[in-house]
C-alpha cells in the first residue's frame, strides 16, 4: 500500500540534508581531486606536488604531456617552466595539448631562475598544472637546491586546483611529493628493415616510489609520424 506523501516528506528531507548540494556535486565532477590518465594508468592529485623521474627516453615527457593535454583540452591554463629551453611544442601538439592554453617560460639552463619562475606561478594560483621540467640540468646543480623549496611549493599549492609536476632524471622532491613515479624504458619498437627503419613505440614501466607494494604499471607511447 502506498504511503501518503505527507508522512514521507519529513523523513526524505532529513536524509536529503545529509546529501551534498547539487552545485557541490557538479563542482566536484568538474574539478575532481584526482586527474586519472586512463591511457597511462596513473593519477595526479590536485593541490599536491608530483614528480616523475627517469633516465633518458624513459617517457617522462610524453606522460606529462598527456596530463597537460587532458587539462588544456578542458580549457584549463597550464604552465611549463622549461629549465633548459628543450620543450618541443610540436610533439606537445601531437599529444593533444592545446597550445593556446599553455604559458611557456624558458629559463635558459639557469637553475635559480627555473625555481623562482615556478615560485611566481604557484603564487598566481588557478593554473591547472605547473610543469617544472628540469630534464637536461645537471643533477650536481639540482642537488644544491634547498629542500625547503619543495615544501614551499607544497604549502603554496595546497587547497588550490593546481597539479605541480616535476620531471628530472632523478627524484628530487623527497617527502614533499605526494606522488613520485619512476619511469624506465623496457624497450623501443622499430619497424622497417635496413636503413628504412622508423621508431614506433616505447614500452614503458612506471613504478611508484611512494607505494612500495603497488605493482609497476606497463604502458606504451607511440610515435606520431603523421606530421613528420
Amino acid at each position: 500500500m502506498q504511503q501518503p506523501a505527507t508522512v514521507c516528506t519529513p523523513l526524505v528531507m532529513s536524509y536529503l540534508s545529509l546529501v551534498k548540494p547539487l552545485s557541490h556535486l557538479r563542482e566536484e565532477q568538474e574539478h575532481p581531486d584526482e586527474i586519472v590518465l586512463g591511457s597511462v594508468g596513473v593519477s595526479f592529485r590536485r593541490g599536491a606536488v608530483s614528480e616523475i623521474s627517469g633516465r633518458a627516453s624513459s617517457g617522462k615527457t610524453g606522460s606529462t604531456l598527456v596530463l597537460l593535454a587532458q587539462l588544456t583540452a578542458a580549457g584549463e591554463i597550464c604552465a611549463v617552466v622549461d629549465a633548459t629551453g628543450g620543450f618541443d611544442p610540436s610533439t606537445a601538439a601531437q599529444a593533444g595539448v592545446e597550445l593556446a592554453n599553455l604559458l611557456w617560460i624558458r629559463c635558459g639552463g639557469d637553475v635559480e631562475r627555473s625555481f623562482l619562475s615556478a615560485d611566481h606561478l604557484v603564487q598566481a594560483k588557478g593554473f591547472g598544472a605547473i610543469w617544472l621540467n628540469l630534464s637536461g640540468l645537471s643533477m650536481q646543480k639540482l642537488r644544491l637546491v634547498p629542500r625547503t623549496y619543495w615544501y614551499r611549493y607544497r604549502t603554496r599549492i595546497k587547497e588550490t586546483p593546481t597539479i605541480f609536476v616535476v620531471t628530472s632524471s632523478e627524484p628530487l622532491a623527497g617527502s614533499a611529493a605526494n606522488r613520485s613515479l619512476e619511469m624506465s624504458r623496457e624497450n623501443a619498437a622499430w619497424s622497417g628493415t635496413g636503413s628504412f627503419k622508423l621508431l614506433r613505440e616505447f614500452h614503458l614501466k612506471i613504478a611508484s616510489r611512494k607505494h612500495y607494494y603497488e605493482p609497476p604499471i606497463y604502458a606504451k607511447a607511440e610515435f606520431d609520424h603523421t606530421e613528420n
Partner: protein, 420 residues
C-alpha cells in the same frame, strides 16, 4: 526642469576645436560639434552657477581664459541657441522675445529664392516673419516650410547629438626636482591615475591600454605602451604593471615630468560561468607574466605557436600573447606519444661508422653502441635554399642510454635532442 542650451560659434572651428571642447567640458558632457562651433546642454546649472545670464558670463570668462573669440547664444532649445549665436548683435546673446525677434532670416535654412521674395516684401527678421499668418506661409511655400515655422516659434525638435568621439584622456605632472628612481613617482602616478580613471568612468568606459611618457632631464622623452589583455580601472593593478614595465627598461636619465594617457574601451562583463574551469584571474596572470619577464627576459615568456614550415625548430614563442583558456570542442582521451626534448645547445658527438652504418656514438654525457638506427632524413620547406638541405638527421637508439636524434651538418656530428 527648464532646459538650457549654449552655442558658441567661431570663425575657424578646426583651429579652436580643442579650446571649445575644453570650455564646453567645464559645463557639460552632452556636447555636439557643429560646422561653425559647438553646442552643449547646460541644463541644471541654476544652483551651481545661476540663471542663463550667469551661465553666459561664466562661458564668456572661460573663453577669455582660453583666448578664444567666439559668439555665444543661450536658449531653451538647441536650435534657438544656434540662431542666437549666429545672428546675435552682441558677443553674448541670451534668449528673450526682443533678441530672438531681431534675428535675421539668413540662419533659418530658407531657400535663396524664398529669401529674396521675403526681402522684397520687406520681411527682414524673425519678428516680421512671425507676424505673417502661419497657414498662409504653409500654403505658399509648402509643407517643408513647417520646419522653419517650428524654429521661429521655438518649437524646434532638434535633439542634441553628442558627437565627440573621445578615445583617450590624459594627465601630466611636472616635477619640481628630477627623480632618478621611477618608484619614487608611484605615489604621484597613483594620484594621476585616480583622476584619469574617474574621467574614463564618467564616459562609461574602461581602459586596456595606458601610455606612460617620461620627460627626462636630458630633454628626451621615454615612452612606454602598457597593454592589458582585458579592460580594467583598478589602480593597484595598473601601478604594478607600469612599475614592472618601467623596471624592465628603465629610463637612461632622471625623470623631470610624467604624462599618462588612458585609452578607452568597453568595460568587461564581470560575470563568469558558475561551473567554469578554474583559471588564474586575468590580473594575476598578467602580473605573473610581467614578473616572469623581468626574471627570465621579455622574449622568453609567452605562448608556443607552431609554424607551418619544415624547419629545424618549427615553432616560436609568442611573447605578446597570454594563455586564453580555450576549450577544445572534441575532447578525446589523450594517448601518450613519444615526445621530443631538445638539447640546448646540441651535444657534440663523435660517431664511428662501419661503411655507411652508424655503429657507435660518443658524447660527453653518454657513450654506447648503436642498437637501432633510422634515417637518413632531410627536411626543409624552403627547397630552393641549399642551406636547408645540408643537415642530415638520424634517429639512433644507443645501448644503455636513450633514443636520440643525431645530426650531421658541415661535417660535424651532434645530438639535437632525445625522444622521451
Amino acid at each position: 526642469m527648464p532646459k538650457l542650451f549654449v552655442c558658441i560659434t567661431v570663425d575657424d572651428v578646426s583651429a579652436a576645436r580643442r579650446f571649445l571642447l575644453a570650455a564646453a567640458r567645464e559645463f557639460s558632457f552632452a556636447i555636439e560639434i557643429i560646422e561653425d562651433g559647438i553646442v552643449f546642454d547646460a541644463s541644471g546649472l541654476e544652483r551651481l552657477v545661476g540663471g542663463p545670464e550667469s551661465v553666459a558670463r561664466r562661458v564668456q570668462d572661460s573663453l577669455d581664459a582660453l583666448g578664444v573669440a567666439g559668439r555665444i547664444g543661450l536658449a531653451d532649445t538647441a536650435d534657438a541657441a544656434m540662431l542666437l549665436a549666429r545672428g546675435g548683435k552682441n558677443k553674448t546673446t541670451v534668449n528673450s522675445p526682443q533678441n530672438f525677434a531681431s534675428l535675421p532670416l539668413g540662419g533659418l535654412d530658407i531657400e535663396r529664392d524664398t529669401l529674396n521674395v521675403l526681402s522684397d516684401l520687406g520681411v527682414a527678421n524673425i519678428g516680421e516673419l512671425l507676424a505673417i499668418p502661419r497657414d498662409e506661409l504653409s500654403q505658399r511655400y509648402g509643407r517643408d516650410f513647417d520646419r522653419v515655422i517650428k524654429r521661429i516659434e521655438q518649437r524646434g525638435e532638434r535633439l542634441l547629438t553628442p558627437n565627440i568621439r573621445e578615445s583617450r584622456v590624459s594627465w601630466s605632472f611636472d616635477l619640481d626636482q628630477p627623480v632618478e628612481d621611477f618608484e619614487q613617482l608611484i605615489f604621484i602616478l597613483n594620484h594621476g591615475l585616480e583622476r584619469l580613471f574617474a574621467r574614463v568612468a564618467n564616459y562609461g568606459k574602461s581602459s586596456d591600454r595606458i601610455d606612460i611618457s617620461l620627460r627626462l632631464e636630458n630633454r628626451k622623452w621615454r615612452r612606454y605602451e602598457i597593454k592589458a589583455s582585458f579592460p580594467t580601472l583598478e589602480r593597484g593593478f595598473w601601478l604594478k604593471l607600469i612599475d614592472l614595465r618601467v623596471s624592465l627598461e628603465p629610463p637612461e636619465a632622471a625623470i623631470a615630468a610624467v604624462e599618462a594617457i588612458a585609452h578607452f574601451t568597453k568595460p568587461r562583463p564581470d560575470q563568469r560561468g558558475l561551473y567554469a574551469v578554474s583559471r588564474p584571474e586575468p590580473e594575476s596572470l598578467l602580473l605573473t607574466a610581467g614578473k616572469l619577464k623581468k626574471l627570465v627576459g621579455t622574449h622568453d615568456v609567452g605562448v608556443p605557436v607552431l609554424l607551418n614550415e619544415r624547419l629545424a625548430l618549427p615553432f616560436r614563442l609568442d611573447a605578446d600573447a597570454l594563455p586564453v583558456g580555450k576549450e577544445k570542442r572534441e575532447q578525446n582521451s589523450p594517448r601518450p606519444v613519444i615526445a621530443f626534448h631538445y638539447f640546448r645547445p646540441a651535444h657534440r658527438a663523435e660517431v664511428e661508422l662501419c661503411g655507411r652504418k652508424i655503429v657507435h656514438v660518443r658524447t660527453r654525457e653518454f657513450s654506447g653502441s648503436v642498437v637501432e638506427c633510422g634515417g637518413v632524413w632531410r627536411a626543409a620547406s624552403k627547397w630552393w635554399e641549399a642551406s636547408g638541405w645540408r643537415t642530415q638527421e638520424w634517429d639512433v637508439e644507443v645501448e644503455n642510454a636513450g633514443v636520440y636524434r643525431l645530426a650531421l651538418a658541415n661535417g660535424e656530428w651532434s645530438i639535437v635532442g632525445e625522444y622521451d
